[in-house]
Amino acid sequence: MDQKIQLGPLTLKNPVITASGTFGYGLEFMRYGDLSAIGAICLKGISLAPRAGNPMPRIAETPCGMLNAIGLQNVGVEKFLKEKLPYIPAGATLIANLYAQTPEDFGELAGIFSTEDKIAALEVNISCPNVREGGVQFGQDPHMAAAVVGAVKKRSGTKPVIVKLSPNVTDVRVIAKAAVDAGADMLSLINTLSGMSVDIRTRRSRLANVVGGLSGPAIKPVALRMVHQVAQAVNVPIIGMGGITSAEDVLEFILVGAHAVQIGTYNFMRPDNAFRLVEEVRVLAESLGIESWDDYRGTLQV
């Protein structure tokens, strides 16, 4: 089977993408596999200025999941372009993940990336639960989401724009439609669910930030439901994610309407998991007699 998929204007070798914040700048995983074998790599979120991130502890393990409150620590766009991007091997398909606190700054970041040949697409993170300004408040208000998408689209040139949605809303379809109406070429979902973990002995939260974002297998049913809902509400390609840890999980997301998937926490469980998954998905699809993703996508019987 040819695993290739068409994501709007973007062609990927296969539907497996690594999720932002869980695969570093790709460089961290070079010892564990061939970066160009993965459909695409979504890079750690980047902001205009460097960000130190939140105090420790920043991560906690929960049953079938984890909480994180990293707070978008990153080197800033300038250092990223100088010190990271040149070292990522050619052949890897890269998606930049953008974070800013105002629509104008989102636009500015999009402008900077629009001329970078090595970047294939932009993913706009309006859904981070771990930062005070910007982040999830853009992802929870359809007007603000539209303002960000508009500002990014104005400056993104020919790069496709993916808008990453938050699950921390009452009806995810409302934001999805607002983003598409404002020009989003694609949607990705879900970002982490807001959660907490506390220690009854120390009487403290296990995170210095008190609350954090829940990811991992624990969130898969929620993610699957939201991808299913959004796939029926909009007409752009959808990238599904949330708790994927097997080839079966990947096919479940495609079955409910996703064009591609992202792998997050699973990258931590074993650093070569994304590489192994590409092959496992191919084998499973063939064993089910699937000849093309277009035939299989969204064929859930209800």
Partner: protein, 258 residues
């Protein structure tokens, strides 16, 4: 980093034995086919773990040779309790060796300061050819026979202090301070143990102007520098991943919470 070394593979459990105290486990896995330096660590995750525990767990390499990869760990929570149930023949996914190691100063005395299971990385260190510039001070809670203390003491000059009461801990701190002071300008200390002990070591190194390296045990999600969960604060004010920039740091380069 040596790229010819196999970075991620499934190793077989050769033995998994509680020591004379059931909370300390001696785990030996089949030989990974690589070498490493004392202070480096591996991430390990049993192949059959399923998804209830999502993270691998980091452990110092206690020893590695063509006979196997040895780890000594203490059962403290969900993961280590499950690891303690491993049986010979089961597979464990291991990636490593990871991180920066203890750097020996060949020209001067090097004093190992180990606390509890923090003694693990020094077993390999004591096996090196040249040991006359090495000595160890070991603080421990359980009786000495529960730890691999004799293996080290057979090769390098060692002393041990048991801590059962707050008064014992205070006395250990006094001795630490004296030893660190005595090495000011003369040698260096290499420390691994619980965080309160490392804070004391760092405090006296800075106070007396003694060179020192400490190994941090921050909570790790990935071990490869990607999750940014294991960071520690540098004296320059940045957060750096202790899995790649550490776990062994120069005491002057990092902050250790108050």
């Amino acid at each position: 980093m040596i790229d010819s070394q196999t970075p991620c593979r499934d190793l077989e459990v050769l033995s998994c034995r509680p020591g004379s105290d059931p909370s300390l486990i001696d785990l030996v896995l089949s030989a990974p086919g690589w070498t490493c330096k004392p202070g480096q660590f591996v991430m390990i995750r049993p192949a059959h773990w399923g998804v209830e525990l999502v993270w691998p767990r980091p452990f110092s390499v206690c020893d590695v040779s063509d006979k196997g990869l040895r780890i000594i760990f203490q059962t403290v929570g969900r993961g280590t309790r499950k690891l303690a149930e491993l049986e010979p023949g089961q597979k464990v996914t291991v990636w490593g060796p990871l991180g920066r190691w203890f750097r020996i100063d060949e020209a001067r005395p090097n004093l190992i300061l180990a606390g509890g299971v923090g003694i693990a990385p020094f077993v390999m260190l004591a096996r090196r050819e040249r040991t006359d510039n090495l000595s160890m001070l070991f603080g421990h809670r359980l009786d000495l026979e529960h730890y691999p203390y004799d293996e080290i003491a057979a090769r390098i000059k060692s002393e041990a202090m048991q801590q059962k009461t707050p008064a014992d801990i205070a006395q250990f701190e006094t001795v630490l301070s004296e030893r660190i002071k005595a090495l000011a300008g003369v040698g260096q200390v290499l420390a691994c143990g619980p965080e309160p002990m490392l804070k004391v070591v760092r405090k006296y190194c800075l106070l007396h102007g003694t060179d020192g390296q400490v190994s941090l045990e921050n909570r790790m999600g990935c071990g490869v520098g990607a999750c940014l969960g294991c960071v520690c604060k540098t004296t320059a004010g940045d957060y750096v991943q202790s899995c790649v920039h550490g776990p062994v740091f120069d005491v002057r380069d990092i902050e250790l919470g108050v």
